[in-house]
Assembly symmetry: C2
Homo-oligomer: 309 residues x 2
């Protein structure tokens, strides 16, 4: 077990909500930016952990989308929360499951003693790129941010196993093609406007997910030497309303996973840490529990991590 | 020493060059993209290592700029080099020094046995965002890609020490503000066009670098228990023509570092691995040598890594 212990968490949603039928979605307005949300989530996580920013020795971004073309998100967050310090800051990006990859990498760094306390943040500006003409995605996503403080435990908490696979036959099923290196902002015209919006081919994503997830999960369970029954709580990526169908198909009972897609929507990289935050704050997991973070991401990437909380 | 051994490397430059006085710069034309360059660099690295893509168990991007808003660069590269496989793929971003951070993280993963062979790639599309009105940066940057294959050695190669610091008082000195979450492409107007170009305040960067680097380097040498004389070769980020001045100030003699700024320009995240590639291919380093990768990045981040090659 790789030594890592969660000692604090925080989350932030924009005040502004919109409703699509029964579904509540959070969207930033009035000049509020993701940096404001991350700053709030970080303040809560630090306070929850009983530490200050001066106790942190790495600021690690686990985000799916860039805030700027340069520099990395973690440097921009550094300015908000750690200006004047020399705390290192960098990003890890595996799209929607970036928090899982960042947490996984953090476990190696903590376990090896490189850093003592790491602040991991996640969050994306969904509302900046939603296409009003693509109802399925336009009505699905929310803006949000989450932050966690992790440190070394007494050997009672840690990562038991983790696995990631990427299947690039699905790479163009979830995209924002424009705005960056391959298709710069300057190339935007009335004709290619759709290329600069978030574009999700939902049915294709679901088909590839349904094809790859069961085998991936079987491999992980076998490699880790556990069964689904050994897991106390699943923290899945809140990808879409299909979540409950997928969990049913995998044989995971309703009381063993967090599902707030209807109320919160898909919050991209913040979705997994927000669900973990919920599980912790609603006392749905307790110290020593076996907790699985799990999700699919644009790529198509499947990511899973089993920890003892 | 964290076990990691370089067993193959590759690099690729665009065919097209431009000249500013004595300085040669490489810029992609005719629809060539960074993915083409990365594909070439990867093919060379795999061949050099005597392996195929099927021997690789992680594709790790160490890049400063996104190719698309979603997904991460490594997923897009995966489609070019590993389509049909399930090799995991994700990005690490510490701006210009992303290769150093990626190599550092890879050393933890290799050392702990998580992955056996990791492919690290770097590269950016400088030419997509250069501002013709900002002569200093317009005449400095080149497009390029580099790739390395790393694996576990017999204990004779590895990372001896590494250190990163971020000083966000310099975060706005090197930026591409537009195109992403904070300032989307849709907000581009004739008036704010400059916000979508690469913007470098060279004098400010140099001043902050000069202020922070000496102390940072002293701390690293002390923490690692070595002196500058113990280092056989320095692989610095090719930030600008000021490189030779900075190295002189640090007391590093000319024959102990790679400087190809005049001929190749600043290749952003590809600059450090291209310099390392040069050192290896020109036999300026041999197995067992103590090699330091070192650089400043937008952030402002300072990054250093000492390895036994």
């Amino acid at each position: 077990m790789r030594n890592i212990k969660i000692i604090g968490c925080g989350a932030a949603l924009p005040e502004n909500t919109v409703k699509f039928g029964d579904n509540i979605r959070y969207r930033m307005t009035n000049g509020q930016t993701l940096l404001d949300l991350i700053e709030r989530a970080v303040a809560q996580a630090l306070s929850d952990a009983g530490v200050t920013i001066n106790d942190i020795d790495l600021i690690l971004g686990g985000t799916a989308t860039p805030l700027q073309g340069i520099p990395c998100n973690a440097a921009l967050v550094h300015e908000r929360i750690a200006k004047g310090s020399s705390i290192p800051a960098f990003d890890i990006n595996s799209s929607c499951t970036s928090f899982i990859t960042a947490f996984d990498m953090a476990s190696y760094l903590i376990d090896a003693g490189r850093y003592k306390k790491i602040l991991i943040f996640s969050g994306d500006t969904a509302s900046a790129a939603l296409n009003p003409n693509q109802k399925e995605s336009f009505e699905l996503f929310s803006d949000a941010a989450a932050a966690f403080v992790v440190t070394r435990g007494n050997g009672d908490s840690g990562v038991i196993g983790a696995k990631q696979c990427t299947y690039s036959e699905g790479v163009h099923d979830t995209e924002i093609r424009g705005g960056c290196g391959l298709l710069p902002s300057f190339a935007l015209t009335d004709k290619n406007r759709e290329d600069y919006y978030f574009d999700m081919k939902g049915v294709r994503v679901l088909k590839l997910t349904a094809k790859k997830v069961p085998g991936f999960l079987d491999d992980f369970l076998r490699e880790t030497g556990i069964t689904l029954n050994d897991v106390d709580m699943f923290i899945p990526h809140q990808a879409s309303k299909a979540l409950s169908l997928i969990m049913k198909k995998l044989g995971i009972p309703e009381d063993k996973y967090i599902d707030h897609v209807r109320d919160w929507g898909n919050m991209i990289s913040a979705a997994v840490p927000m669900a973990l935050y919920t599980a912790i704050n609603e006392n749905r997991i307790k110290r020593g529990d076996k907790v699985v973070m799990f999700g699919t991401a644009a790529g198509l990437t499947i990511n899973i991590l089993l920890m003892q909380y």
